[in-house]
């Protein structure tokens, strides 16, 4: 049942009040920022009760209704979000160090269009948690048709997993970084051979691609299995400090690529 917004007198009073408020605001500019807090805003129980009473007495019915609805909707929203979280994401696990299994589950559960977003989460988690054991991990999932669609999505989005070698390397130093790949499909992968572009820095410095090698040189991954290759990198003597990055890519499936970055100090 409808409650009328205002009686005419109240409405006129409100309009006057508003006009006055606006005029004050306009004339005083930001001077309202220097206003003192009203006593009702004090953080005491009595002050709180007074504030509520004051709110009810001075606030119009439409505003009171709006406030009530907002509280209800927020309450309902929190419940819904919790239900979705429970069914899709294990938040505790996501916040834990190894989030890969959660991401994998989310990837399976979510709508295909969400896959793009999940890629962001995956790379975000990698980046944020500085995964030292596995520098890069991504799956080759689904049928050939799905793989093609994913390839298109990734390429169009320009998104590739971001592999940051932990720590700061010195000129002349060598390092090995394990890279794990998952095959989520029902078929054996083709023989995968990996290549890299030169790594370049924003200042124009360059680490040639020949300074990177992969062991084993060829990798085949069983259905629903995983495989690891070691990325070996030698920083040439005389390399100037900076963040160097390049693209690591496979020979058979060009959607399998990752950005490799290394900080030289």
């Amino acid at each position: 049942m409808l409650t009328r917004v205002t009686k005419k007198n109240n409405a006129n009073k409100a309009a006057e009040k508003v006009t006055k408020g606006h005029s004050e605001a306009s004339e005083a500019g930001d001077s309202r920022d220097q206003r003192q807090e009203t006593p009702s805003a004090e953080k005491t129980l009595l002050g709180g009760l007074d504030a509520i009473r004051g709110f009810i007495e001075t606030t119009s019915q439409v505003v009171q209704q709006a406030t009530k609805i907002l509280e209800e909707e927020i309450g309902a929203g929190i419940l819904t979000a919790k239900q979705i979280e429970d069914s899709l994401i294990n938040v505790k696990a996501l916040r834990a160090a190894n989030a890969e299994s959660v991401i994998h589950r989310f990837r399976k559960d979510a709508h295909e269009a969400m896959d793009i977003l999940v890629d962001v989460v995956g790379s975000a988690v990698n980046y944020a948690e500085k995964m030292s054991k596995r520098a890069v991990s991504f799956s080759i999932s689904g049928s050939a048709e799905k793989a093609t669609r994913q390839k298109t999505a990734r390429q169009e989005s320009g998104l590739a997993p971001y592999l940051k070698v932990p720590g700061v390397l010195k000129s002349g130093q060598s390092i090995q970084v394990p890279m794990t790949l998952e095959n989520g499909s029902d078929a054996l992968t083709e023989k995968l051979r990996f290549f890299s572009t030169d790594l370049i820095s924003s200042a124009g410095g360059r680490i040639p691609a020949r300074q990177l090698s992969f062991k084993p040189p060829i990798l085949t991954i069983k259905p629903h299995g995983s495989g690891t290759i070691l990325v070996r990198l030698k920083i040439p003597s005389g390399t100037k400090p900076g963040l160097y990055s390049g693209l690591v890519q496979s020979s058979q499936m060009d959607q399998l690529c990752a950005v490799l970055a290394v900080q030289v100090g």
Binding site: V5, T6, S26, D30, V62, A66
Partner: protein, 346 residues
């Protein structure tokens, strides 16, 4: 400061925020085939003379909280693209003929093409959010994603309520129903989330975004009610849509809901028959009869007063939410935009 100057200040600030947003937005639009049927049509709505409240609130809140506003631009762009996608679909759903002074996209291009352009814009709104990861880092990017997800879901839920009421010829609605629908359809994505996102970006996620809920809701509801008032009383050239369109469409605005609750039983029966008539079959004389009833029961004026009361409440919330922040043009914009929204004629 004289009122005129405050109005001019908000107008100029909106133009500035819009140009900042549009520059980035256009850079995100692909230049490739199919151009004629898709990509050439995507800029159609964003390039029209929209007010740009949403990116304006996002960017200015970021600035008011001391953030680098450049960091908020991608999120503002995503909100604006989403908004325009929503408008394209909304125009199809409502059978509207004009938007921002020009023919609606589906009137120009046909419904199937227009719906697909709207779909494309929803997809395109994802990209700037993805790009956030290199700008904001993973945690903040995820927070903004969560905000956008909630924003989009609330919008479609609110839209569903409004469309359902028209389809089922709901005539026993109250003010509370309207306020709930407006919260979901308009307020989250027009005011609440733009402010929340701007502040989250400015504070690297440390601000409690819920502080903006009441402020944004009161302001958004006032904005929507004013929009409904303008739809019935505005100047077509300035407003950019057909005047009285909401009556022709049978939209359950606060004004119409007031009328259904104030008129006599006989008048209500005739209103029900009018609203049950498909839009193409409605007659001009019947629309005029509804206009006369609105005047008889003072429905437009009372809705206008409701908008002012909500704007007044928003101003009180502004004092709470933005209190203590250093004075700046960003803060001044937010303070003045509240009444700009309900005093506008466009």
């Amino acid at each position: 400061m004289p009122k005129g100057n405050a109005h001019e200040f908000v107008t100029r600030a909106l133009e500035h925020y819009k140009s900042l947003t549009m520059r980035t937005l256009m850079a995100y639009l692909p230049s490739r085939e199919p151009k004629r049927y898709l990509y050439d049509l995507v800029p159609s709505y964003p390039e029209r003379s929209g007010k740009g409240f949403r990116p304006g609130l996002c960017i200015s809140t970021c600035g008011a909280f001391g953030g680098n506003v450049e960091l908020a631009v991608n999120s503002a762009v995503a909100i604006e693209i989403f908004h325009n996608a929503f408008l394209i679909h909304d125009d199809v759903e409502d059978g509207s003929e004009y938007r921002r002074g020009k023919a609606t996209l589906h009137s120009e291009q046909g419904i199937p093409i227009a719906v697909n352009v709207g779909d494309a814009m929803n997809v395109l709104s994802i990209r700037p959010l993805m790009e956030n990861i290199g700008i904001l880092g993973p945690e903040l990017t995820w927070m903004v994603f969560a905000e956008i997800e909630h924003m989009a879901r609330q919008s479609v839920e609110g839209q569903a309520m409004e469309l359902g009421w028209v389809r089922d010829n709901a005539c026993d609605l109250g003010e509370e129903d309207y306020l709930r629908m407006t919260l979901k359809k308009t307020c989250w994505y027009t005011c609440i989330h733009p402010c929340r996102i701007g502040a989250l970006i400015a504070t690297a996620g440390t601000v409690d975004p819920d502080r903006f809920n009441r402020f944004g809701y009161y302001m958004g509801a006032a904005f929507q009610i004013q929009d409904d008032v303008l739809n019935l009383t505005g100047d077509k050239k300035k407003y950019g849509k057909e005047i009285g369109g909401d009556i022709w469409e049978g939209k359950r605005t606060l004004i119409l809901i007031h009328l259904l609750n104030r008129c006599t039983e006989d008048e209500k029966e005739r209103m029900k028959r009018f609203l049950a008539t498909p839009r193409p079959s409605r007659l001009k004389k019947d629309v005029q009869w509804v206009y006369n009833l609105l005047a008889k029961y003072d429905c437009i004026e009372s809705a206008r007063h409701g908008a002012y009361e909500l704007a007044d409440a928003a101003m009180r919330e502004y004092d709470i939410v933005y209190r203590g922040l250093p004075n700046s043009d960003y803060k001044r914009f937010i303070e003045n935009v509240i009444f700009y929204m309900i005093e506008r004629n466009i």
